[in-house]
C-alpha cells in the first residue's frame, strides 16, 4: 500500500486488506482528507465502526495512531501539553545559586520540561500520524474552541516557547455520537462523513470477512436477524462488532441454524439491556418460530 493513495479506490482496497470494508462515501472522504489535509468529522450511531475507521486508516497508511479520548472536563493540560512542575522545581533548587535567573528561566521553559499530551505528540511527530479525537461531543465548547487553531493551521501556541508547527501533516479524524450540536466553526474546518448501519449485503460481507468459516446460509440469517433487531427501537441497538462476535460465538457452538432456541441462548451477545432483552425475545423470537414453520411447511 502506498502511503499516499492516488485514487479513492486505493483507499478502499487498502482498508479492505486490513479487515475494514468501507462503503464508497467513506473511502472517498478518507481519500479527500488525505489529499486536502483536512480533518474528517465522522458522525453516526454508536457501533458502526467510527473509531475502527481511524485505526484501520492508520494501519493501512502505515502511520502511528495517536488517540485522544474526550470526556467532560477535558482541558488543555490533558490534551495539549503541560509543564513538568516537579522537574522545574528540582532544576531551580539544584542550581539556582550558581547561575543567573535569565539562564534558569530559559532553561526551565525548554522542551526538556514539557510533558507532551496526545495533540502535541501528533503535531510534533517527525513521521505523519493519524490523530483520532474520539467522542468530541463529550467535551465542552471551550475545548472545541481550543481545537480550532490546531485543526485549521496544524500548529500549537505555547506562550513560553512560541509556535510549534506540524512538520508533517497528520490525518485527523473526529468522531461524534451527535449527542450535542457541535459549533459551526468546528464543522466548517472539517469534511463531513455520516456512517450509518451497513446495508444487509454490506454487513454480510463484513461478517464473512471476519468469520469466514461460518456457513453462508447462517451468516445471511444472522445479518437478517440483526437488521430485524435494529429496527426495534432499542436502548442500544447491536453494533457491527457485536454481529461479528455473535457470528464467532455461533461458530464455536457449532450451530447449524438460527432458530428461536439458539437465538434465546445467544441473544445476550447482541442485546445488552434488560428491557431490550424482553422486547427482543418477544418480537424476534416469535418471528423466528414463524419463519421456521414456513420453511418446514414449504419443504413438506
Amino acid at each position: 500500500m502506498p502511503t499516499t493513495p492516488d485514487r479513492p479506490e486505493d483507499v478502499s482496497s487498502g482498508l479492505k486488506e486490513v479487515g475494514y470494508l468501507p462503503d464508497d462515501a467513506t473511502a472517498l472522504v478518507a481519500y479527500l482528507a488525505i489529499k486536502l489535509g483536512k480533518p474528517i468529522l465522522v458522525e453516526g450511531p454508536a457501533g458502526v465502526g467510527k473509531t475502527q475507521l481511524a485505526k484501520s486508516l492508520a494501519e493501512t497508511l502505515g502511520r502511528e495512531l495517536v488517540r485522544l479520548q474526550c470526556y467532560e472536563g477535558l482541558d488543555e493540560a490533558k490534551a495539549l501539553y503541560e509543564w513538568n512542575y516537579r522537574k522545574q522545581l528540582l532544576r531551580i533548587q539544584a542550581e539556582a545559586q550558581d547561575i543567573g535567573w535569565q539562564t534558569v528561566q530559559d532553561d526551565i521553559f525548554g522542551e526538556d520540561f514539557l510533558l507532551e499530551r496526545p495533540l502535541m505528540t501528533a503535531i510534533a511527530s517527525p513521521d505523519p500520524v493519524v490523530l483520532l479525537i474520539d467522542e468530541i461531543d463529550k467535551t465542552d465548547q471551550e475545548f472545541e474552541a481550543m481545537l480550532l487553531e490546531l485543526l485549521s493551521d496544524f500548529q500549537i501556541s505555547i506562550p513560553e516557547l512560541g509556535r510549534i508547527e506540524a512538520s508533517t501533516m497528520p490525518l485527523v479524524l473526529l468522531t461524534s455520537n451527535n449527542s450535542r450540536e457541535l459549533t459551526e466553526a468546528l464543522k466548517r474546518r472539517c469534511l463531513y462523513l455520516w456512517i450509518d448501519y451497513p446495508s444487509l449485503e454490506h454487513e454480510l460481507e463484513i461478517v464473512r470477512l471476519h468469520a469466514p468459516e461460518l456457513d453462508a446460509k447462517i451468516a445471511r440469517r444472522l445479518v437478517e436477524v440483526v437488521a430485524m433487531v435494529r429496527d426495534l427501537d432499542l436502548k442500544k441497538p447491536p453494533s457491527i462488532a457485536e454481529s461479528i462476535d455473535w457470528a464467532r460465538a455461533l461458530l464455536l457452538l457449532g450451530a447449524t441454524d438460527i432458530d428461536s432456541k439458539t437465538f434465546n441462548e445467544t441473544m445476550s451477545i447482541i442485546v445488552k439491556h434488560r428491557t431490550d432483552i424482553d422486547i427482543v425475545a418477544e418480537r424476534v423470537g416469535v418471528k423466528l418460530d414463524a419463519a421456521k414453520d414456513d420453511a418446514s411447511a414449504a419443504s413438506a
Binding site: 458522525e43 467532560e72 516537579r86 465548547q141 450535542r180 459551526e184 464543522k187 466548517r188
Partner: protein
Amino acid sequence: MPLRPDKRPSRDASRRAALFSEPLENPLDAGLTAHLLEFGDELRGEGVALGTSELLDAFTALPEVAWDEPVMFRETLAATLAKSPEDRAIFDLVFERFFFRATEMAALATGIGEAGGGMDESGAEMNLETLREQIAKAIAAQDEAAMRDLARLAIAAYANPGEGSGVLGVDVQRIRRALELRAEPQGEATGDDPRAEGLPREGIRRFEQLLRKELERRQIERTETLPAARPLHELDRALPSGPLQDLAGVHRVVTQLKRRLKTQGQEHRGHKRHAHVDIRRTMRASLQTGGVPITLRYRPVRPRRPELFVICDVSTSVTSASVFFLSVMHALHDSFRKMRSFVFIERVSEVTEVFHRERDFKAVSDAIARDAGVADISGYTDYGRVWGELLEQIQDELHPRSTVIVLGDARTNGREPRADLFGQLAERAGRTYWLNPEPRLYWNYGDSVIDSYARYCEAYECWTTEHLENFVKVLTEPEAARR
C-alpha cells in the same frame, strides 16, 4: 425500437458534458464555478448554514476526484457542504432538483433531445414485455445504474402526465403491478429469465425506491417547488406520541437534554458578577508550584435550581405529550431543588411519589391511569375545578422562588375557565409558565381559551423536543442572563 439502456452512452454523462461546455479536464472553469455558487445559494435558501470556506473546500476537493462520475461528484460535494444528517437530507433533495433542472436547461440549449438518446418519453413504441424482462434482469443483477434508467423508462411508459393519483406511493404500486414484479417464482417465465425463480425482495424494494424518487423529481419539476423539507424535519423531532410509546426515543431525548444542559451555559460565564474562589482546589493546585497559589480555582457557577410545581393535563387529547413531559422533568430531577408533580383531568392529584418509585416510562403512565383517580364522571378536562382544588392544596407552599409549569391544551370543553383562580396561583408563585402541546396555529380556536390564562403567565408551544429543550434552558438560566 430496441431498448438498450445499458449500451447507449449515459444520458446523464452527455448532458453533463453539455452543461459544462468547456472540456471535462478543466473542472474549475467559469461554467461550473457559477453553477456551484448558484447551488450553494439554493442550499442557503433552504436553511443550510453554508460559509464561503465550505464552497472553497468543494472547489479544492473536486479536482482530486473523478468528478464526472455522478456518485463521486455528489459525495464530494456532500462531504464538503453538508455537515449534519439534517443538512445532508436537504442537500440530497436540492442536489436532485438543482442538477436535474440545470442539465435539462443545458440540454435544451445544445439541442440534445430525448429521442436521440434512445429514450422516447411518449412510450408509444416501447415494447412492454422487453421492458419487463430488462427490469427483472437489472433487479436480479442488482445493477443500480440500469435500474435507475429503467425506472425512468417505466414511468414514461406507465405514468401518463396529469394522470397520477397525486399520492406517490399509490403510483409506485400501480407501476410495480403493471410491471408484474413479484418475489414469488413465476412459472410462465422461461430460460435464463430471473423471474422464473422469483426476484430478490430487496431488489424490488430498491427499484420501488428509485421509482418513487423519479416520480418525486417529476413532481418537483412540475410544481417547481421543493417538497416540504422543513416541516418534515420538524415532525421528525416531534415529541413521541401514540399509545405504544417510543421508549428508546424518550431515553434519547433525556440523555441528550441532560448533556446539553450540562454543556450549555458556558456562554454566561462572562456575565458573572463575582466568582467565589474555591480555597480547597486552589491549595491543591498550588502544590504543583511549590505552595504558591499561582492559579486560582473558582467554584463553578451552578445553574439556578428552581422549586418546581409541574401540573399536567392527562386527558386523552394530550396524555402522551404530558406523561412524556413529566418523565423528562423527573429524569432531570437533579437540576431542580425540589419538585412536585400533579396530574389532572376533572380533579387534580399528586403523582410525585409515582415517579420516585417507577423509573420505567410505561409503568408510570399505567400507574397514573390506575391510581391517580383524576377522572370523575365525564372524563373531560375541567380547568375551573382543578384550579380551585390546586389552590387549596398548594397555596401555602407557593412563594416567590417557586416556579409553576402547566402543561395542557387549555381546551375547557365549554366549562368555566376560572382564569381568576389561575391568576391567584400565578400571583403567589414567582414564575408561571404554560406549555401548550398544540402548535400555535390552533390556539384559541374552538374551545381553547389559552389567551385568558396567558395573561397571567408566559405561554410556550411545546410539541417538538426542540421546543422542550429551549424551555428547559429558559428554566435553568441564571437570573442575570435573562436580563
